[in-house]
Symmetry: none
Subunit: 287 residues, 2 copies
DNA sequence: TCCTATTTGTAAAAAACTCTTCAAATACTT
DNA sequence: AAGTATTTGAAGAGTTTTTTACAAATAGGA
């Protein structure tokens, strides 16, 4: 296996010349950042000439400076990224090339990117809106996002009263709009291909003074023109389809947060539900 | 004080254009290493043109790409001299203690554990079964898993004919059973609290000689007594609720794999669907 | 539907960088 | 101390990278 650059430099240090040692000292001192600039700047910092640098990297086995730098970058990547990116933990059981691995890696990366970009203030504000029982909540899903909207609705329904699921795709949605009042919350799901009916619905809801929360993809649905509360998830994966995993993660986090905020009031609802399950014997006893 | 590049990018994210957002996603994903190569390689990775990169860095206040890179290096220097481990991408923007972080970390860990435990042979076999058009496929969801079953159904419906969604909770399911034949595939979703009707349905389906695929949680539904094809996901998170993220990831991977396996036959179906969308103008043009 | 504004990429010019050549400087040997 | 071998940097050739100018494509509005 290829050894790291700093190792190679250390190994050959004895056989190097004065100018080269000077150079190695500079590279090692602030490793590996100092090697990431231009060959010129590195030479200047070490007070040697550029040919000296070029010769050194060739000496330790690279075709040229750019190749040396590329290696440096890839080492850096390995250093910086945590165990997740390196898939050390789970790659062992599954061959790298298997789709399970490829897919999981892509999803992990999507999650990291998307969650990192979320503004926590926006997040907290949205949760506060959803936890406010005085505001009615409407959940709007489209063709693709139907399942996500349904999942969100299902949980929120247990947590709080006054929640309604609107299928933006159906003909019935204008009727729901009649009930929307100023201050109500409308959670809109819209990913590519963005749906015209959803956009129209958003426009009307905004006109009625509703607070709109938009859950969308990295390309951002045009619904965003009616609200500042936007959650954009990265959804591209090695598949003919887009991934909803990041979106689901976001939803579950929102659910957890709202649940926590409303716990005192929700507690009773939850217990009632539990009791109902026990009575009906609809479910098996929790194992 | 000068703000960091990733901050600058995220601050202005809303006001950026499509190509620029693509670019930001790539930069952020493997930050900051991806920005340390040439402008050309960065542009290629993000699938945008080099001028787009040049324009973006100017937009966020640099004279040119080299200056941008210099700043990136100096940030890196500051980061590296400190604890490297702290550098997780999402940890920068989100305080450690925030629920977004706790939740994401828990989910990541669930994913790692669950995907690692999957037997690739079982996985491949299941995909092969689902890709076989000669077998009818039935998808069975319960109360909690309804949304997951629906999501799976929605995608499979596009990929292949002969797929049916059964709500195990409804009264209608015995009728569906009549149609099940030897060799048909029944995909059953069952997480705690395991539902009696689902178990009964599995028993009957097994008696008719159906191939059962079970998607369940870490405690494994009793349906497992009727099949060896079991996918168990870890679903515990810091919440009053269980997480479905890992399950969804599994489903999407199966969808991707089946899609790939049946591509030649599916291609036509997909194109027809696309054409329909274009005709109906139901959706907006993909941005 | 057409028109305007914006966005995006192509292509070529400008700039920067990398590498090679060669001669001067240095170190080493006899 | 002189000769030889090695090391080093200046300079420029050749390459790549960055930037700019402009035209095509796209989106949004009338």
């Amino acid at each position: 296996m290829l050894t790291s650059i700093s190792e190679r430099l250390q190994d050959r240090f004895d056989s190097l010349t004065r100018a080269e040692r000077q150079l190695v000292a500079v590279i090692t001192e602030n490793y590996p950042v100092s090697g990431l600039g231009s060959i010129t700047s590195l030479a200047e910092k070490a007070q040697v000439s550029t040919p000296t640098v070029a010769r050194l990297v060739q000496k330790i086995g690279f075709k040229g400076f750019p190749e040396f730098q590329a290696q440096l970058r890839s080492e850096l990547e390995a250093t910086i990224s945590g165990p997740i990116a390196k898939h050390d933990t789970w790659a062992e059981a599954v061959p790298d090339s298997h789709i399970l691995n490829q897919f999981t890696e892509a999803v992990m990366s999507n999650i990291k990117t998307s969650i990192g970009q979320i503004n926590t203030e926006t997040f907290d504000q949205c949760c506060a809106l959803l936890a406010d029982n005085k505001r009615a909540v409407y959940v709007v899903g489209g063709r693709i996002t139907r399942a996500m909207a349904d999942y969100f609705f299902l949980h929120m329904q247990v947590i709080r009263p006054g929640i309604t699921h609107i299928q933006a795709i159906s003909n019935a949605w204008p009727h729901y709009l009649l009930n929307i009042e100023r201050g109500d919350v409308v959670v809109i799901f819209d990913v590519r291909r963005y749906e015209n009916s959803t956009l129209k619905l958003a426009e009307l809801a905004a006109a009625k003074g509703a607070e709109i929360i938009l859950v969308t993809d990295q390309w951002i649905s045009p619904v965003s023109r009616y609200t500042k509360r936007v959650f954009a998830s990265k959804i591209t994966v090695p598949s003919a389809w887009d991934s909803s995993v990041t979106t689901l993660l976001l939803l579950e986090t929102i659910i957890a947060q709202v649940q926590q905020a409303t716990w005192p009031e929700t507690r009773a609802r939850m217990q009632e539900l539990e009791a109902m399950f026990d009575d009906t014997k609809f479910f098996r006893k929790f194992t």
